[in-house]
Symmetry: C2
Subunit: 148 residues, 2 copies
């Protein structure tokens, strides 16, 4: 797939976001703060119904210019590149590539890149408390002839 190409099929859809160094090229204006963010949201692009996924880049020494809470949604932050600081309420801790952070709805959260190079991360939003079955428990083996 080429960058930003979307494919739509029966039971699936897909998008090519680009490699990790491409995320900094996406731009959007935060509707409440007016901040220019280097971020791309995927839910509306490929039709997720149980989650929102976004990718975001923070330049060297850039911080997310606001704290926020959520009304219904749990969030996961997954650090894909770089190092920084994450804060929930008054608790601040180190993050780096491979850090996965869960934040409950009332947690006042933000993060900062405190390094001299880019930081890239994903955010996943889901409805808090909504998961009923998970991992292998919800799966069923199926027979299909492989086409690769």
């Amino acid at each position: 797939m080429k960058k930003q190409q979307v494919i739509q099929g029966n039971n699936y859809s897909a998008i090519q976001v680009g490699n990790i160094h491409d995320i900094a090229n996406y731009t959007l204006i935060h509707p409440k703060t007016g901040a220019e963010l280097h971020k791309i949201f995927l839910k509306d692009k490929i039709g997720f119904t149980g989650m929102e996924i976004s990718f975001q880049s923070l330049a060297a020494h850039e911080e997310l210019p606001y704290f926020h809470t959520h009304i219904k949604n749990e969030e996961a932050y997954i650090i894909l590149k770089g190092k920084g600081k994450f804060q929930v309420d008054n608790n601040c801790f180190d993050i780096e590539e491979g850090s996965v952070i869960r934040v409950s709805t009332p947690g006042k959260r933000s993060l900062a890149n405190i390094s001299d190079s880019e930081m890239v991360y994903m955010v996943i939003q889901t409805k808090e408390g909504s998961l009923e079955e998970y991992s292998g428990e919800d799966g069923r083996l199926a027979e299909v002839e492989k086409r690769w």
Copy 2:
């Protein structure tokens, strides 16, 4: 945070999974197929309530040794490294770093690394149809003194 360290706080928790090259060192046995997978599930480790997140590595020319469907959960596959093929029912397409694939519950899915180097990806499970508000719509700005 050190690798596999978990921190627990009020309104949050976090784990350090390691960098992308560490994923191959995780091992688990698939309960239904007996297959040895290089995979780590995170829900029970840091207490997600709306999602399951896993990281998985496929060695060069390794394929996931089964197809499967889901009963309740939508899945997202996010390719973090490498190149391969993804198949849903009888549709097979190319994937690579930056590909994000949504699969609905009935889609019979699997994937293969068809390259000479490692492939690493994430899978996110959420309850299909469960998201009510998303992106900025569910968020509220909050005031906290930053501690970084």
